[in-house]
Amino acid sequence: MTVFVIRRLSQSLLILLITSVIVFAGVYAIGNPIDILIAPDATFAEREQAIRSLGLDRSLPEQYGTFLWNALHGDLGRSFVFNQPSIDLILNRMPATLELAFVALFLSLVIGIPLGLWSGLRPNTALDETVMTGSILGFSLPNFWQGMMLIMIFSVWLGWLPSTGRGELGTFLGIRTSLTTWSGLSHLILPAFNLALFKISLVIRLTRSGVRETMPLDFVKFARAKGLSERRIVSVHVLKNIMIPIVTVVGVEFGGIIAFAIVTETIFAWPGMGKLLIDSIMRLDRPVVVAYLLVVVTLFIVINFVVDILYSLLDPRIRIGSAS
């Protein structure tokens, strides 16, 4: 286990390093970096001063060294637009994105697992066909268009839910969240569902195939022979066994949710870091783009790491340490 953890950690560091090289190459080496790194309306003196302070008169490896050194000290540059350290901007917006992502994840499990069970227990019936075709439709609906349709139906036509923004925040256990106020919740429903739909389809398919693989196994027959009710067999014994693949896949997909939050946040004007990224790309606010990329890569590495550890803890059949 320890060996595994150490190996994974060193791999993660390597990925971060590679990412930093790519980002460096993207921002510093393509085109004239000074045009990207200082505001367009800077005076000549400011420009010269910036070139010197940023070390742009030195060689590329030296420049990369400086970039890395600053990055390691949490300095990823200042936003031109907000004139704040870009890393602070990203971290300020992160809770909103995480809240949206967690609620979407929760929705995908709460809706996806029952539908998948329902479908998997009645294979090849009309209901199964409908749910499976529905899940392909869920995969096929482009996230952004589906969000627009949600706004059109529930905000414009029916007028039930607000279409943009985050609503009032309440405080719960010291965390500022929109889950505790009605205004917050009503603002959260549409974007969370928009983000969840794709994952709902995924969970349905995973659950269904899990159920179909598990139902013919001996332990299910044994449970039946013991006289357990079908409800108990499914909800306790079968569900426990199919949770392992679901937990791992959903864990890995959490990163995907955060990535797709970029789209959802743009449609619903949700003040998270994804919307900040798109705004920054549009305003050519490069330091924020750099900061977002490095923060998200770090986040991904942490998620994948946690999922791997969870996987080995959940399933005693997997012995990570003895692999290879």
Binding site: I15, I18, G26, V27, I30, E129, T133, I136, L137, F139, S140, L141, P142, N143, F144, W145, M148, M149, I151, M152, S155, V156, S163, G255, G256, A259, F260, I262, V263, T266, I267, L277, I278, I281, M282, V289, L293, V296, V297, F300, N304
Partner: protein
Amino acid sequence: MTALTFRKLGEDSLVARALDGILKSPKATVAGIACILLFLIAAFGPWFAPQNPYDLMQISIMDAKLPPGSESMSGGTYWLGTDGQGRDMLSAMIYGLRTSLAVGLVSGIVALGVGTTLGLIAAYFGGRIDTLIMRLVDLMLGFPTILVALMLLALIGQGLGKVMVALVLVQWALFARAVRGAALVEKSKEYVEAATCLDLSKTRILFGHLLPNCLPPLIVIATLQVANAISAEATLSFLGIGLPITEPSLGLLISNGYSVLMSGQYWISVYPGLLLVAVVFSINIVGDRLREVLNPRLQR
């Protein structure tokens, strides 16, 4: 030579198996016919589209934002309404479909070529080359496609060619992983040994003998990836970092409708969106059916 071709899974039988599987499922048959129709519309669209939406002589700003079924200034009917510039939506959608399908197909095919070659090389040569290629694959697949494509376009700028480069870059790894898996199984079989003993060139063994036997998973992934690429391109264009305004795809048309959605002009975003869904949905249904029929035990 007959002994050599004996183990080869003939291309005809594979196509026949795929076709047979699709025809046996009514749902997949309908989706397949829809795919063919959509491709025909895209290919021959300019011949029967009511107007060329990008010919300024043919559009009139006086006709802007007309609801579906309105009469145009010159007497024709806009069946699906007009957009903010007075373009006929139906025509704009036909032209958009052309761009979307072209981007999806071209990037899918290039990714197929690159991924297959790298996957075969990894499986056949093994060792360091294998490790290097597969680490790269793991790295690519570790991040969501949309994020990688978005960051890349944010760094290199937008444009038709760049979008395709980004889409190829995020797709090749899936092909490489699938081909490598299939090729590793095939590699140990006797026909490869026989081909090696005949001193055939490595290129010939790789592409003439190994590749035809690794086709089933590739066909399935290629189908699904075309749908994914179309969807990804639309998303990127919607976010404003995909195609430029001069190459309008379905995603860009929908994006135009976003700003007027709140004022009730639903048709500008709803109809192109429905067409986009129809394309992606029918390709996905065919792909899903192919997966069942060819059963290459895909991991997705």
